[in-house]
Symmetry: D2
Subunit: 409 residues, 4 copies
C-alpha cells in the first residue's frame, strides 16, 4: 500500500511554490466517492463551482475548466484564438514564460520574445530573470506593428521561477496606448487566489490558471477565463481544436455539465477550496500573502543573500527566490535540507539552475509553518558552510511578532 513517509517521524514541510500544501479539508473532499457525472447531484456541483470561479477570477464572463494540468490550459488559450502562423508578443520573465513560448512554437505560431538584456553584476544572473514585464517595451513594439499582425500579447503574471509579479494593468494600458487590437493573454497559474488579480477590471482577454497553487488543490485542473473579445476571436480562429475548444464547454456549462467526463474528485476539492477562499474574502487572502512574503524577505535579507527579484515594486507575494553565493550548489543545499529536515524547497529552473532556491509562501500556510521552513533553511545554510550575515529566523520572528495577521472586515 502506498506510503509517502520517507522520514521516520513528523510531517513533511512542502514549501515549494506549488503544488502548495493541500488543506486536509480539501484532501478529504477529494476522497468522497465518485458519482455519476451525468446525474443531478453533479449538475448542482458544477453550477456551484463555476459560479465560485467567476468570483475568484473577478470576472462576469465564462471560466472554462479543463480536466488537465496547467500546460494544457496554456495550449487551450492559444489553440482557441489563434490560426496557423499567427504572431504573438511574449516577454521573457523566466522559465515559465520561456516554456509558454516554446509551446506556441510547437503549435506553429510565431512568438516574438521581448527580453531585458544583460546579466546582473552582483549575482551573474540574467537581468530578464530578475525583473517584471516592461510595459513600455510592449507599447513600443505594438506601435511599430502598424499592420496589426500581432494577434496577442502573452505575459506571465506571477513568474514562479523568479518570484516576480508583473503589473498586468500596466500591460493593458500599454496595449490601449498603442491603439492595438491584440488580445491580452495572461498566465496567472501561480498568482490566482494568492496575488491580487482582476480579470475584468484589468482588461484581460484570456487568463490561464491552474489548481495547484493559490487554489490549494493537487494538480489536475486548469482554467481559461475569457473575455467577450476572446470568445469572438475563437469563432474565427482556425488552429485545429477539439478537447480544448471553448464553445461546447461554455454551452454545456450552462446546466452544470461538461461535454466530456470531468475531473469529478478534483471538482469536489475545488468546491471546498472555493468555500474556504470566498468565505474569507480575497482581499484578506492577498494581504495575508503580502505579510508572509515580507517576513520571508526579512529573513533572506538578514542572511545577507540576494533576493532574486531585483525590483521591490514587483516582489511576489507567493514565493521568494534566494540566490546562493557562487560556488554553492543550490540543489545540493536543497537536497541536504530535504534529507536532514524533511523540507522541500523549489529548485532553480532553466537559466538559474543551481544558483538559487525558491521558498513558497502560499496557500495553506501560517506563520509557524514559515518559521519552520526558515529554520530549516538557516540550519541547512549553516551545515553547507554558507557564511550568513545574521539570523534570518530572528528577523522573521521580529517581523511576524510585530505585524498581526490581516483579518476580514
Amino acid at each position: 500500500m502506498l506510503t509517502l513517509d520517507h522520514h521516520p517521524s513528523g510531517r513533511h514541510f512542502l514549501q515549494i511554490p506549488g503544488p502548495s500544501p493541500v488543506p486536509d479539508r480539501i484532501l478529504r473532499a477529494m476522497s468522497l466517492p465518485t458519482i455519476d457525472h451525468r446525474g443531478p447531484e453533479f449538475g448542482a456541483l458544477g453550477l456551484k463551482v463555476l459560479a465560485g470561479l467567476k468570483q475568484v477570477f473577478q470576472t462576469e464572463h465564462p471560466v472554462v475548466v479543463y480536466p488537465a494540468s496547467g500546460t494544457g490550459a496554456w495550449e487551450a488559450a492559444l489553440a482557441n484564438v489563434c490560426s496557423p502562423g499567427d504572431q504573438l508578443l511574449m516577454v521573457e520573465t523566466g522559465h515559465f514564460a520561456t516554456l509558454w513560448k516554446k509551446l506556441a512554437e510547437r503549435l506553429g505560431l510565431q512568438p516574438e520574445f521581448i527580453t531585458l538584456p544583460g546579466t546582473c553584476a552582483q549575482t551573474g544572473l540574467p537581468n530578464a530573470w530578475r525583473h517584471g514585464v516592461p510595459a513600455e517595451r510592449i507599447a513600443e513594439r505594438l506601435k511599430a506593428d502598424t499592420g496589426h499582425a500581432i494577434k496577442a500579447v502573452c505575459v506571465v503574471h506571477n513568474e514562479t521561477s523568479t518570484g516576480v509579479t508583473s503589473d498586468i494593468a500596466a500591460v493593458r494600458r500599454a496595449i490601449d496606448a498603442a491603439g492595438h487590437p491584440a488580445l491580452l493573454m495572461v498566465d496567472s497559474i501561480s498568482g490566482l487566489a494568492s496575488a491580487e488579480f482582476r480579470h475584468d477590471a484589468w482588461g484581460v482577454d484570456v487568463t490561464v490558471s491552474g489548481s495547484q497553487k493559490g487554489l490549494m488543490l493537487p494538480p489536475g485542473i486548469s482554467f481559461n477565463a475569457l473575455s467577450p473579445k476572446a470568445l469572438a476571436a475563437a469563432r474565427t480562429a482556425t488552429l485545429p481544436k477539439a478537447f480544448w475548444a471553448w464553445d461546447e464547454i461554455v454551452e454545456m456549462n450552462q446546466s452544470g455539465y461538461w461535454p466530456y467526463t470531468p475531473n469529478t474528485n478534483l471538482l469536489y476539492g475545488l468546491h471546498e477550496a472555493l468555500d474556504m477562499i470566498l468565505g474569507q474574502g480575497l482581499d484578506v487572502i492577498f494581504a495575508r500573502h503580502q505579510r508572509w512574503a515580507a517576513g520571508v524577505r526579512a529573513a533572506v535579507q538578514a542572511w545577507g543573500l540576494p533576493i532574486q527579484c531585483a525590483d521591490p515594486a514587483v516582489y511576489s507575494p507567493v514565493l521568494t527566490g534566494v540566490v546562493t553565493p557562487e560556488g554553492v550548489d543550490a540543489d545540493a543545499l536543497r537536497k541536504l535540507i530535504h534529507t536532514r529536515f524533511d523540507l522541500s524547497l523549489g529548485t532553480g529552473l532553466g537559466k538559474v539552475k543551481g544558483r538559487m532556491f525558491r521558498i513558497g509562501h502560499l496557500g495553506d500556510c501560517n506563520d509557524l509553518t514559515l518559521m519552520a521552513a526558515l529554520s530549516g533553511c538557516e540550519m541547512g545554510l549553516k551545515l553547507a558552510g554558507v557564511p550568513l550575515a545574521g539570523s534570518g529566523v530572528a528577523a522573521a520572528i521580529a517581523h511576524f511578532a510585530a505585524h498581526p495577521a490581516p483579518t476580514a472586515g
Copy 2:
C-alpha cells in the same frame, strides 16, 4: 462543506459503466498529501506506475500518461500520428465511436465511417448500435485503398454505449490480410483491466484508455499505449501538438518524471489500483467480469427484455444494455430508481436515448452489489408498470449461487 448524501441513509449504488465505484483504498491513497513532483519520492512513484501500466496493457512499449480525461487521450492519439487532412477508417459501433469520429473531424482529419445499415425489427434500434466491429468490411475497404491513403483504422474495443466488446485481434488480421500499412488505433477506455486486452499480442499501434473504468479511479488520467510503429509515425506527422506530444513525455518518463506537472494525487490512486489489479492477476479479473456479466444477462433475459447487444459472441463483460419496451421512457425509469432506491444506472446515449439503460458491472463490485442493483431495477420496473416475464433477481440468484467466483492459481 461538501456532502453528497442525497438520500437519508445508506450508501449510494453506482452501477453505471463508468466512472465505476472507486474502492476506499484508492480514495484514501488519493487523499495523501500532495508532494513535490520534482522530488525523489515522486520519481520512484513515477517509475513504479509506468512499469505497472505496461503489465496492464500487456505491452513492452511505452505507455503515455496524461493528466487529462479520456477525450484528451483520443485527441492525443490522433494528434501524434496524423497530418492535416489524413484519412481515417472508423466504425460506427455506438455513441463513443461517433464522438471520436467527430473529434477527428474537428482536428481537420477525414474519417470514413463504416456502418451496419438498418434498424432492428424487434427493438427499432439501429443495427450498428447492437453489433461489433465487422472486421471483414475493414479488410474490404483497405484492399480497395490501393494508394494507402488511409492513415489509420480506429475502432472501439468496448462500446460503453451499447455493451458490445469487439474482436480486436480480428481487426488486426483484417489489416494484415489487406496488406495495408494503416495503423491500428483502439479505444479501450472502458475495456482495459475488465475485458481481456493485449496491446502487443493483438498488434495494436495506439491504445487509448482512461482511469475511471476498470482501473477503478476517478476520471482525470488517460493513456496512450504505443507501438514502435506508432512512435515512428509520430516523428513525421505534422498536426500541431504540444501538450499531447509523446516525444518529451516518453523521454522524461525514463527517470519517472513528466515534462509538465503531473496529476499527483490521481497517480497515488493509480499506484494503489495497479497494486490491487496486478496482485490478483488480470486473468482472474477478466473471468470475474465475465461471470458477473452472465449473471446480469440472466436477469435481463428472465425479465423478458432485450439485451442491447444482439450478438452473444461480443457480449460485453463490463456492462449490459437493457432495452425498454416502446412507450417506456428509460430515463424516467432511471430517475424513479435513483430517487427511490439510490441507484445510478447508465443513460441511453445518442441514437438510443430514452430506449435503454445500462447496468455497469465492473470494477469494485461483488455479487451482492449486483444483487442490490438488480433488485433496484426489478422494483423500479414494477413500479413503472413494465410487464416482466419473470424475476430477474431470482435468475441472478440461481446464477451466482451455481457459479463460484474465479480465484487465482
Copy 3:
C-alpha cells in the same frame, strides 16, 4: 499497512446487529486531527454533543458519556446507585440480559432473575429467549417486596440476541402500580436512535446505551442517561466508584469538558451522528427501521423459517433473528455466506448458539443494502441445502416496492 480487504473486489456487507455500518461521513469526522481536550474548541464541541444527546434520549436531564464501551456503562449504572449487597430485579430476555446479571453478581449485588419457563415446541429454543419483558410479573414481584429491599428493576429494551423490543412504558406502569420505589434501569444499547425510546416520558431512571448501534459509530463510547431520582440515589450509594462516578462528570460537563481525558475522535464522530440524526428527526428514523424490519420479516416468512421473536407485538425494528432447521448449523451457514458473499451476519449467542443467525437492519442502511443481504442469505441457504418454502428475496422486493420510505414533514 492495515488492510481489511479480505475479498478480492467490492465492499463488505456488515449486517450484524451492531456494530452497525458506520457512514463515511462519520468515519471521516473521526479522522480529523486530535485536539487539546482542554482547549476552547474542545469545550464548544463538548457542549454541542451533550445537548444533542439529550434530544436523542428524549430527556432534559444529564447524559453521562464514558470513554468506554457499553459493558462499562452497565457497570457504571449499577456502581453509581447501588451499595454492596443490594437486591436487583432483572428479567431473562436473552444473552445480554444474562450478561448484565452476571456483571451485577461480580459487583457483589444480588440480582433476581425473572424467567419465562419452558422451551418452544416448534424450535426447541427457550421461551424466555423468544419473548419480551413480562411487566405483570415485575408488578407481582414488587408487590411482594413489601420491605422495598429491591433497589432497582433492570431490563433490556432491545435484546440484541433475540430481536425482541420490550415495552418499557409498561414496566414503569408496573412499578408504579406496585407502589414500589425501585429505580427503573434500562439497557437500550441497541435500541437507542433506531427504536422508539423516551427516557423522561417513560420514567426511566438510568438508560444505558452505546455508540455502535443506532448512533452509527464504532464502539468505544457509552452512556448513562439519568433521572433526578437516580442522581439522588447516587449520593448515598456506597459501592466504590471513581472512573464511573457521575458527580464529577456531570459537574465538569457544564462547561463542555470532562474530568479525565475524553475520547476525542469518537466525539467527533458523535458530533456528526447527532447532526445526521437530529437533522432527519427521530420519528422518521424510527419509521424507517420499522419498514426495513417488516421487509426482512417478509423474507424470513417466505423462506418458511421461524422468526426468533415469537410475539409480533414486540418484533424488533433493529434486527431479526432467524431460526435454522434442526440439524443445520447456523454458524457453518454464516461462515459459508461470509466466505462466498462477503456478508457478515450475527451469530447465535448463549442458549441459542448454532440454532439461529441474526440479520441487522439498523443504522446506515437502505433498501438495496438489505436486498443484497437477503440475497446473500437466500443463496447461502440454498447452497447449505436448507429447503425453503419460497423466495424471501421476492417477498422483500414486493414489500419494499409497495411501501415508500417514510419522509420528514
Copy 4:
C-alpha cells in the same frame, strides 16, 4: 459538518504533552470501516496487536487492553489486585500522582503519600513538583512496614504535569532492598514508547498506560501490563470488579478476541502505531526523544527561564515544563500564543497552575515542528512583555544543526 479549522489558514501545531499529534497514517487506519468484532478478520487483528504491545512494554506477560481512557486503567490496576481498605504507598510527583491517589481513596483504599517538603526559592513552586521519585524514602518506609501491610507501591514514571521521568529500576531495587512483598505499580501513560521503559527487566508488576502519548493514537484505549505476581494477587483480591477484571480478558485474548465489545477503530490505529514503532525500533525512538528534549531545553535556558524539572538526571524526554516569571500568567500567555499562532501548549495543572506551561516533544514530531513551536513561544513571550536573556530559537537551531538525528542500525 464538523470542522476544527479555527484559524484561517495552515495547520494547527499541537505541542501539548498528549494527546500528541496523531500521524495521518493512523488517522486513516482509524477511518477504515468498522467490522464484526466476532469475525475471523478481527481475531487476526487482535492477536497481532496483542503481540506487538508486548514488545512495546518489553514484557513476555499479558498486556490487557481496555476500551477506555487512561484513568480507567489506573482504576483497573487497583481494582484487580486490592481488597477494600488495602494500604498503598504513593509518591507526590505532581498532578497525575495526586489524581491517582484520589482515585485510590474513592475506591476505599488507604494510600500514603510520600512528599518532598518545601518550596523552591527561585520559583516558589513546591519541591515535590520539580523532582523525581525518591527511591530511598520508599525503601525506608517499606523497611518500617514490618507487618507488610502495604499492598503496593504506586509511582508515576513520566509525570506529565512536571516533565520529570523517575528512575523506576531504582524503585524496584528499593523494594527488594527492603525485602518487602509489595507490588510495584507504575503509571507510564506518558512515558511508554517515548521514554525508555522495561516492564519485565525493571520488575514492574502492573504498568498502566494509554494510547494518546507515545503510541500516537487519540485517547480511548488504555493498558495494564501484568506480571505473574500481579496475576496471582488478582486471584485473591476482593474489590468488586467486572469491566476491569483481568481474568476473562486474558483468557479470551488468547484467540484474539475480547469478552465485550472492543474499540474496533482505535485498534486499527493501534495496529498502525505498532507497525510504525516496531519498524523503527524502540531504541531509535527513545534516542530521538532525548535529542528533541535537549534542543527544547537549550531554548528554555537561552530564554533564561527555569525548567520546571530541577534535577537534570530526571529530565523528561517527552515534555519540558517552562516556569514563567512571577506576575506573568502562563495561561494568558498560552491563550495569546494559541490565538495568534495556532499553537497549543500544555497548561499548568494543580499546584503549578498559571505559573508554567508545558511544551510537548513527543510522538509524531520532527525538528521543524519543534522549531515552529519554539518560534511561537518566543514570539508569544515577546508579545507578552517577558524579558528574555536571549533567543531560544537560535539556541535550538544551533542544537539541531549540530546533532544529527539518530538512525537505526
